[in-house]
């Protein structure tokens, strides 16, 4: 039986609390903003690595972004993955979900021999949560979404997962290969493995593909391939709160609160 091979889609995002919007140009101020790996993608990495622990095989990291992603992707590689594939090309810039999932799907196809494609549930910047489904559609693969746990039956080429929803849960199953989206905070991402750290930040393999290497149709990538347009951008105004302090003993406070609750409920 061939080795299990999982691909994990990883995005590097600006740290949410650091983001500022330029009022003039209505675009994000990207300079000097610290970045991190999108936290749900860390959960996706952990789920894929958990399967590698149990079933063996390899884990490849796939990312679409500029070269500055590299040190972040190497940190993910150091968690225990085997290879980084970075889809990097100025032509990919400005992509919305349609163009992004198309580009990623070409990456997955080019990597080849993939049993599972893992994605974090959503990303902390765009937070559309549409990449897993869109990617599954381009790849014409079944999908299991919002999983907190996964098991494989490699003989029968099946994946079983648990999703938690509506206060309850579902046990779901799909044939392999399939796309899996991982619920945010579903697991605790392991820290960097120091046994491979030097390798990950040194000789660790990173393959970079541009649009030509992928055979991408120009009409489907980047800004050109994006039906949606951002027409306005602003920092959200935090709601103004009263900040009125209520003093006194618990009885007095209770009386006042009861009043407020009555008036407002």
């Amino acid at each position: 039986m061939p080795e299990l091979h999982s691909v994990v889609c990883v995005k590097v995002v600006p740290k949410p609390e650091e983001v500022r919007v330029d009022e003039q140009t209505h675009s994000l101020v990207r300079a000097q903003v610290r970045s991190e790996i999108n936290p749900p993608d860390m959960n996706a990495m952990e789920m894929a690595l958990g399967l590698k622990d149990r079933y063996g095989g390899t884990v490849s990291i796939l990312s679409m972004g500029p070269p500055l992603f590299e040190p972040y992707l190497r940190a993910a590689l150091a968690m225990g993955a085997d290879h980084i594939y970075l889809l990097s090309d100025p032509a990919f810039a400005g992509a919305d979900t349609l163009a992004t999932t198309y580009t990623l799907s070409l990456g997955v196809r080019k990597i080849g021999a993939v049993d599972l494609v893992f994605c974090g549930e959503e990303s902390s910047d765009g937070a559309t949560g549409q990449v897993p489904a869109g990617l599954a559609e381009w790849l014409d693969l079944p999908q299991l979404s919002l999983l907190t746990h996964i098991d494989l039956n490699l003989q029968e080429r099946l994946a079983h997962g648990r999703r938690e929803l509506k206060g309850g849960y579902e046990i779901v199953r799909a044939t392999l290969p399939c796309v899996v989206s991982v619920k945010t905070a579903a697991n605790e991402p392991r820290f960097i493995d120091y046994a491979i750290k030097d390798w990950a930040f040194g000789e660790g393999r990173i393959t970079v593909w541009g649009h030509e290497a992928l055979g991408a149709e120009l009409a489907l990538i980047g800004l050109a391939g994006s039906p949606t347009r951002v027409t306005g951008l602003a920092e959200a105004q935090t709601r103004h709160r009263r900040r009125e302090f209520i003093d006194g003993d618990p009885q007095h406070i209770a009386h006042r609160l009861a009043q407020l609750l009555r008036d407002n409920n």
Binding site: K166, G167, P227, T238
Partner: protein, 340 residues
């Protein structure tokens, strides 16, 4: 630029809403979208239609009409009895190709998000996800979506000029739940779908629906943090008296005092209650995101410097173990008076 499966020139001036359903009931989020859709359609003089996919779902057509849809497009097939992403995507795709509506709205629920994501790619159209507001531009029939990013720190307006349908997903509770009306009857149109068992590669093996608690819908939220020290019984009692729900921050969940479904915040549930009562919660950034939209926030904490007070309307520096019992007693007292 890639062209969508149909263009603005071909479109039917209609707003479609995906009618998600479970256990013979339309999901609340679908009703909310019907309410908003009706308002937007009326502004433009457009049709409002619902897309209903399933097996033996005729009773739901009636329900849909009570939310004043002009049409229900129903895709009926035995293989659509349970939700499957392949079956439902194919069904929706065929219906949309046939009807070509300008706008297609879905709730941002676990299954509908997947459906929207696959459908948007299949149709080669755009998708505005998790919108916090929607409006139609009367002059050109363009849907403008407001979305938030970066944990709510940034708001963006997004639209698509050349691609159809204009798709958007909206979280439950963003729009108000409309009241159903009697006596409204629209048109029901049945659409066929080509579907074979071999088309479906996913299966639900086991399903356990929770007690239906949905924090995101709660009108009153009583949330407890570290300062409650695991004593959630009194929060449940307060919530019961106020007809609300109990939520929590991460620490009590991690310690096993309360279930994870009740975790409020960036990695939990985002709520928009009328009243949020924060008990023994310090007010870290990732929690506050979960109650920001509350109409009124009351915070109780022993630490006068607790950050939560910056996000509260009414601030009490005190011990929840003293304030809550007093409040519960006070509420019980006033309820007795009412019932006397």
């Amino acid at each position: 630029m890639v062209a969508s499966a149909y263009t603005p020139q071909d479109e039917d001036k209609a707003i479609w809403v995906y009618l998600e359903h479970d256990a013979d009931q339309l999901e609340d989020v679908s009703k909310e979208l019907l309410g908003k859709g009706r308002q937007m359609a009326d502004e433009l003089g457009w049709k409002l239609a619902g897309l209903l996919i399933g097996h033996q779902v005729e009773p739901l057509v009636e329900q849909a009409f009570s939310y004043r849809v002009d049409q229900v497009w129903m895709v009926e097939h035995v293989l659509l009895k349970d939700f499957s992403i392949e079956g439902f995507t194919q069904a929706a795709y065929q219906a949309l190709l046939q009807a070509k509506p300008s706008v297609f709205l879905l709730g941002a629920t676990p299954n509908a998000r997947d459906l929207a994501g696959r459908l948007a790619v299949r149709l080669r159209t755009g998708l505005n996800a998790d919108c916090t507001d929607l409006r139609m531009v009367a002059e050109n029939g363009v849907l403008v979506s407001e979305v938030s990013g970066f944990g709510g720190g940034v708001l963006a307006l997004i639209q698509m000029a050349e691609h159809r349908p204009q798709m958007a997903t909206v979280r439950p509770g963003v729009f108000p739940l409309p009241e159903p009306v009697a006596g409204f009857v629209g048109e029901c149109i049945t659409v066929g779908v080509n579907l074979q068992p071999g088309d479906i590669h996913t299966q639900i093996l086991e399903r356990q629906v929770g007690e239906g608690m949905d924090l995101s819908r709660a009108e009153v939220l009583v949330a407890g943090g570290r300062g409650v020290e695991g004593d959630f019984a009194m929060l449940f009692e307060l919530a019961r008296l106020l007809k609300g729900e109990v939520g929590a921050t991460r620490p009590p969940v991690d310690e096993g005092h309360i279930e994870r479904e009740r975790q409020v915040g960036q990695t939990g549930v985002v709520c928009s209650p009328k009243i949020a009562i924060c008990c023994g919660i310090s007010g870290a950034f990732h929690f506050v995101v979960g109650i920001e939209k509350a109409d009124m926030v009351i915070a109780i904490n022993t630490d006068p410097q607790a950050p939560i007070f910056d996000y509260a309307d009414y601030c009490i520096v005190g011990d929840v173990h003293q304030v809550l019992p007093a409040l519960i007693a006070e509420l019980r007292r006033s309820m007795e008076v009412v019932h006397a």
